[in-house]
Assembly symmetry: C2
DNA sequence: GTGATTGCAAACCTTTTGCACGCCA
DNA sequence: TGGCGTGCAAAAGGTTTGCAATCAC
């Protein structure tokens, strides 16, 4: 049920870099390895703090830039705030969200079939549930038009 | 399907404030009204930019502080980054997330029943779908222990 | 060799904090 | 009147950018 972090695969990493036209540097290798090792969706700073233990002269900017580069190449995903700002939602009744991956727009929707999804037993046993909802990543009509899709 | 923003209800707002021991000020009223009006999960800055048109001497800090106060009282929810930092996820295979609402930890899990939830027709017609996943908000065992739950 | 990448410094943007004044209850 | 809430100023926290030196290819 709960995922184990996949081991770091240097060959797969190298291939991904090559496929995306990215140079393979010791820094990038260390950054990606640490991201895999952490297995906890770290922030750029968390990755940086770990790496500098073995790589004391690495710069934070390198870590941050590399992570963004990986994201742009589809080698990882950004979760929790693509833009880095908090957003506020006054709707307290049960609903779900669409996120436009281009412009960041967040659109509410209701759908009863999503409201009471059965939560896996293994999770119920181990965690205290607060609530649950569905996120659908989309490209909204405005963005689709703008990019001539 | 898609939700219309509920109209601003001054009485309901006043009640909520009183129930939470919050004073009702013109600023707070304007902030909450704008949040409802926007209907698009604005950031603190977006709310501020709108309000200052009619309320030119309001301070950004007031807007931000009020929104956080409302959130603490359960009058609204924070979405997209509770902490304001980006997090990176190297797992590209289908999975879902648990978010601990106390410490911000994000835990992966897989659950086939969640992988291909049927997306509502109305959404399929109107939006280009990128992908979709389930978020379960939890209190993790560490936090539950720490608060003597 | 050449252009991408790094590290430094500084800028930038958003959010938070300290404090005195003012206003709501 | 008492104390919460506001606005100002400044700090803090996180991210981004410009540039020269360096390194991967």
């Amino acid at each position: 049920m709960q995922k184990e972090a996949a081991p770091f695969d240097i060959d797969a990493f190298s291939d991904q870099c090559r496929n995306n036209g990215l140079r393979i540097t010791p820094q990038r290798t260390a950054i990606y390895r640490e991201l895999i090792r952490a297995g906890s969706h770290p922030s750029a700073d968390m990755v940086y703090q770990q790496i500098r233990r073995q790589f004391p002269h690495i710069a934070f900017e390198t870590v941050n830039r590399s992570l963004l580069t990986f994201a742009r190449s589809g080698m990882l995903r950004i979760i929790e705030s693509r833009s880095g700002v908090r957003r506020f939602d006054p709707v307290l009744t049960k609903h779900h969200h669409m996120h436009c991956v281009q412009c960041g727009r967040i659109i509410d929707f209701t759908h009863e079939a999503y409201d009471d999804l059965k939560i896996p037993e293994a999770i119920l046993k181990k965690y205290e549930i607060v609530d649950q909802h569905v996120i659908i990543n989309i490209i909204c009509p405005v963005c689709r038009t703008n990019q001539g899709g």
